[in-house]
């Protein structure tokens, strides 16, 4: 009789433990999903021409203050001779390197990051597609200095006219850009250099 009771108690304890484990996992999963979806999102577009560390730090500080997720968007330009959905190994090599740089900085700030790559015929076209595809609350834009490649004055003016949500435009210094080393081919590892 005692042995049966002990066995029953053990079985009950194991069943309860299993149930608790399943429930806690479900709750953790739900919490992660909800936090990923519910938190505010700060869009941070950048191009293959470089990434402004000053602008990135500003976006990260803002994201940390608001407990928001940073959504860096690499704007890939697709030449007219290629289909818009064509794979882009050369630009991908640049994008991947810069995304990793962003991840490392974001980890130091304790900010969650959710990367995107958007293609377009021009940077503005890629931005328009980003606005159509992504949900975000703020946009931090690093404008390229006059004469430099990247998101130029005309693009910034266009964003201010058409961009939804709050827009923060930052003008970086001339020497303020992280650029992966230019390589002819995508297979070589790229190192970010200042």
């Amino acid at each position: 009789m005692t042995a049966t009771l002990i066995a029953l108690a053990v079985a009950l304890a194991l069943a309860l433990a299993a149930l608790a484990s399943v429930l806690s996992r479900r709750l953790a999963w739900k919490r992660t999903s909800e936090s990923a979806r519910g938190a505010s999102r700060i869009l941070f577009p950048f191009t293959a021409h470089g990434l402004s560390p000053t602008a990135l730090d500003a976006a990260l500080r803002l994201a940390r203050a608001e407990q928001a997720t940073l959504v860096p968007v690499f704007l890939a330009r697709v030449a007219l001779r290629l289909p818009l959905e064509a794979p882009l190994p050369r630009q991908s090599a640049v994008a991947v390197t810069l995304q990793e740089v962003i991840d490392q900085r974001a980890a130091r700030f304790g900010v969650a990051v959710d990367h995107r790559i958007e293609r377009g015929r021009t940077h503005r076209h890629a931005l328009r597609r980003t606005f159509a595809n992504e949900r975000f609350d703020r946009l931090v834009l690093a404008a390229a200095p006059a004469g430099a490649a990247g998101i130029g004055a005309e693009d910034v003016a266009w964003v201010l006219r058409h961009g939804p949500g709050e827009i923060l435009v930052l003008r970086p210094r001339l020497d303020d850009a992280l650029r992966p080393q230019a390589r002819g081919r995508p297979r070589k590892p790229l190192a970010a250099s200042r």
Partner: protein, 395 residues
């Protein structure tokens, strides 16, 4: 019934016998020596007593190539009028009337003048093969349809004359004519590829070392994939039946050689932002290995709106990177991964760092990495760590 099956087999064998064999000389660019090698092998066949003719030759004024053609019968080109101009094309009817044993046909991707039997030369070659004439032909790798965009992005040059990949896949033999980019540039400078007035422009545009090196790699991989494809017979393929009949030791050696041909990576992901890190690292590895990359999500539940959003982001990322995103339903990640790895010839599996397991979960069975190791013998397994979490001890 068996007698009928046998008769059908014999009939299909006879039909197969009536079709000529196709050997393609593939190169990374003009000037590597495809036509020269084709003519050399044609000469060797003629010396061995076979009836060999040149159906179409484009020597581009290269003296060595023209010399190699000496002694072989040349089917004269036919003259075709198009928009008031007289053009020369391969004479398909004359080749079919002449009916040699072997016909050498240059420039497989060529587009014919409108109004001829076919739009493309590879279609002419099909007719020649159907007439039970063996064909040697030449083509550059950038003409392959599936590689056209890739080559365009690598070199900045769009090739307009394309060839369906199926033509190369159906060829009985593909021979890669390979020389180093430096050697090709030397040949170009020495005037062996283009006339002197075209050399400088060629060096400035297409014939740059980085372009040629990229094209060379594409060509090498293409031929490796063709070889691998031909070594992987389908269920219905008689070669598979023969394969089963081979001694076990032979089969094992064959399987080992087959696996050595190419790498293929499989990254296990979930629709979470953290999976992008795994995809990036897997893509870098795939680039270094020159391998294809598959991304697999084993879907064990209906995705939430947030997961659907992440899945879409992963789909776009895969598209930009040229990877393949697979979504397979199943409850057992390890079993589904095993099936997919088997189907796609995976040699390398990558996954994120597993979450710490509870004591109860540990009691229930081995972890996912351990199960994958058990289920996927001979396949590398790599756990992708989050490098942003890396901490160094200060000395």
């Amino acid at each position: 019934m068996p007698a009928r099956v046998q008769a059908q087999d014999l009939d299909s064998q006879r039909r197969a016998d009536r079709r000529g064999r196709h050997k393609v000389f593939l190169g990374m660019a003009a000037g590597v020596g495809k036509t020269y090698q084709m003519l050399r092998e044609g000469q060797a066949e003629a010396e061995a007593g076979r009836d060999v003719v040149i159906g179409y030759l484009e020597p581009h004024g290269r003296v060595d190539t023209a010399r190699q053609a000496e002694g072989l019968e040349l089917i004269p080109r036919r003259r075709v009028s198009y928009r008031g101009r007289e053009l020369e094309e391969m004479d398909l009817p004359a080749i079919l009337r002449r009916a040699p044993e072997l016909c050498l046909i240059d420039e497989l991707a060529h587009t014919n003048v409108p109004g001829l039997e076919h739009e493309k030369r590879w279609q002419d070659v099909e007719d020649v093969l159907t007439a039970n004439i063996d064909v040697f032909s030449t083509v550059n790798v950038q003409h392959l349809e599936s590689l056209n965009d890739q080559v365009c992005e690598l070199t900045g040059v769009r090739v307009r004359e394309t060839l369906p990949d199926a033509v190369l896949a159906a060829a009985d033999e593909v021979v890669l004519i390979d020389i180093t980019p430096q050697s090709l540039i030397e040949r170009l400078r020495a005037g062996k590829v283009y006339p002197p007035e075209r050399v400088e422009a060629a060096l400035q545009n297409f014939f740059r070392v980085e372009n040629l090196a990229a094209l060379r790699e594409v060509a090498l991989r293409q031929v490796a994939e063709e070889v691998e494809h031909k070594r992987l017979p389908t269920e219905a393929d008689p070669a598979r039946v023969l394969e089963r009949a081979r001694p076990r030791a032979d089969r094992l050696i064959g399987a080992a050689a087959m696996q050595a041909v190419g790498e293929r990576l499989l990254a296990l992901i979930t629709p979470q932002p953290s999976s992008q890190r795994i995809v990036r690292r897997a893509w870098r590895s795939a680039q270094r290995l020159g391998a294809e990359l598959d991304l697999l999500w084993v879907q064990d539940h209906e995705p939430s709106p947030a997961e659907r959003e992440q899945l879409e982001a992963l789909r776009r990322l895969a598209s930009v990177l040229g990877a393949h995103l697979l979504v397979e339903r199943g409850d057992d990640v390890a079993r589904v991964a095993q099936r997919v790895a088997h189907e796609r010839g995976t040699t390398y599996v990558l996954m994120g760092t597993p979450r710490p397991r509870s004591a109860l979960a540990r009691l229930r069975g081995p972890s996912l990495p351990n199960r994958l190791l058990a289920l996927l013998p001979g396949i590398d397994l790599r756990i992708v760590a989050d490098r942003s979490q890396r901490r160094y001890e200060r000395s």
